[in-house]
């Protein structure tokens, strides 16, 4: 509908760095605000629904095809490389379909091979978001339906650890298989959502202690969604997966921050139960605050010069 003005804040405010506040600054902000209301990046040619559903189909279709193809190859590093490529590409397409904007923080702590990645779980999209930045081996229950097809396809290309529902009850079996997986240093880091169910995006509950009995290096990751742009919480008793996904796709955007945290290993003698009492933390919402910070930097720099001159 409109052509957005992409110039950065400094240019839009007729900026040399460190200029004073002026009454005309309000033009820039009100213009930007209105532009954002009228249009976002997806609503350009197609109607947003068409585009988004198309992208999702392409993404999933490619994933299934790609992994099946790669699965035909014999074990080799080429196969692993291809498998990662397929996963990453398809993920990116799917995230685009959800109009996602994701910021990764502290990339130096990204989970490594042979480790365990532990993240809070707000919605099924969490998996997509993490996989965009790196490949993981999934752990979880075998599902029927669409998810089941995707799961089976992914297993062909690189090893994941899927369990039948009955097996999940046997904690020893689960622990054993996970241990085997991480012992193999070439295998991708395991991705675990310890809470089991989705929490609604306000605080990180105590991680179930089972995750810590496996040992190995644990890489905590926090995923925080910006609720202003779309509520990612999935109430599975209210919506089924498909209608949830459709809601997500047609909502304005999914904006989230992913924080990688320094890896931890279990100290000798530390109990798994203790570990479970991790962080009841609220990850900070910095989206608006970043804008405010930048603007403040601009006008304050010059102000202090002014007061010195006077």
């Amino acid at each position: 509908i409109i052509q957005r003005d992409e110039s950065p804040m400094e240019k839009g405010l007729s900026g040399l760095r460190g200029r004073d506040f002026e009454l005309s600054d309000v033009f820039y902000f009100s213009k930007k605000g209105l532009e954002a209301i009228v249009e976002d990046e997806v609503t350009q040619r197609f109607s947003s629904e068409e585009l988004v559903v198309t992208l999702a189909f392409i993404g999933i279709g490619l994933l299934v095809m790609g992994t099946t193809l790669v699965g035909q190859l014999p074990e080799s590093s080429l196969k692993n490389w291809l498998s990662e490529l397929v996963h990453l590409t398809c993920c990116r397409i799917c995230v685009r379909a959800l109009s996602g904007t994701i910021h990764y923080h502290n990339k130096q702590y990204k989970p490594q091979k042979g480790g365990i990645c532990v993240a809070n779980h707000t919605s099924p999209i969490d998996v997509l978001i993490l996989t965009m930045d790196g490949c993981y081996a999934m752990v979880g229950q075998v599902h029927g339906g669409l998810l089941g097809i995707i799961q089976r396809a992914m297993v062909k290309a690189c090893p994941h650890v899927w369990f039948e529902r009955s097996e999940m009850k046997d904690r020893h079996l689960v622990t054993q298989r996970l241990r085997e997986h991480i012992a193999d240093k070439k295998k991708l880091p395991i991705l675990i959502f310890p809470e089991g169910t989705c929490i609604n995006n306000t605080s990180v509950m105590m991680f179930k202690k089972g995750s810590f009995e496996i040992g190995g290096t644990i890489h905590p990751v926090a995923i925080k969604y910006n609720p202003q742009f779309g509520d990612a919480f999935w109430n599975s008793s209210k919506y089924n997966m498909v209608s949830y996904l459709l809601r997500m796709m047609t909502s304005w955007a999914i904006v989230c921050d992913v924080w990688y945290m320094p890896p931890m290993t279990r100290e000798k003698g530390e109990d798994a139960v203790q570990d479970g009492g991790l962080k009841r933390a609220k990850v900070k919402d910095t989206f608006k605050e970043e804008q405010q910070k930048n603007y403040s930097k601009m006008i304050v720099g010059n102000e202090s010069l002014n007061s010195e001159a006077n």
């Binding site: 309000v26 213009k31 910070k293």
Partner: protein
């Protein structure tokens, strides 16, 4: 709240909006579908401040570029919403929170606070506000009237800064 049907755009409304804002039919209908997709509560208004579609279009009309007026110049009609003077009025009203036609120090402080968040101290913000008022105030009432506001901004390219490029 009324059924969904009552919030669909009627032809007479379309005509009125077109006259008032100067936008074309195609643009208005596309903006209407955008509006409805944002209107989650399905009650014809957007969020907290309860802007209905007319209000939304009126606000948006202030941001039309002035060149667009060349085509549909109606000399006898009312001043278009996107004239320089009306754009300035719009901006003035953003600052003039209590609508008394003056921007007081308090109002300026409030707006500044919204723009910088928590990153600047009250003291510093106060001195920024004082300086701004000092530079603009001509009749010595420690507030900025609309005339003074216009004077301060006379060198600013308002037309360009307050324009959104609409595609046809």
């Amino acid at each position: 709240m009324g059924s969904r049907a009552s919030t669909l755009l009627r032809d007479e409304e379309l005509e009125e909006i077109k006259k008032e804002t100067g936008c074309e039919f195609g643009q208005i209908t596309r903006l209407y579908s955008r509006f409805t997709s944002l209107d989650k509560g399905e009650n014809g208004t957007l969020r907290e401040d309860q802007v209905n579609f007319r209000g939304f279009m009126r606000t948006l009309a202030h941001f039309r570029p002035i060149e667009d007026n060349e085509k549909s110049k109606d000399v006898n009609g009312p001043e278009p919403l996107n004239s320089r003077s009306n754009k300035l009025h719009f901006a003035f009203r953003l600052y003039d929170l209590d609508k008394d036609d003056k921007i007081s120090r308090d109002e300026l402080l409030q707006v500044l606070r919204m723009m910088v968040g928590v990153n600047i101290s009250d003291e510093q913000l106060g001195s920024i506000a004082d300086r701004t008022i000092q530079e603009a105030d001509q009749d010595g009432d420690s507030a900025i009237s609309f005339t003074e506001f216009v004077k301060v901004l006379e060198k600013v390219d308002v037309e360009q800064k307050m324009s959104i490029r609409f595609l046809h």
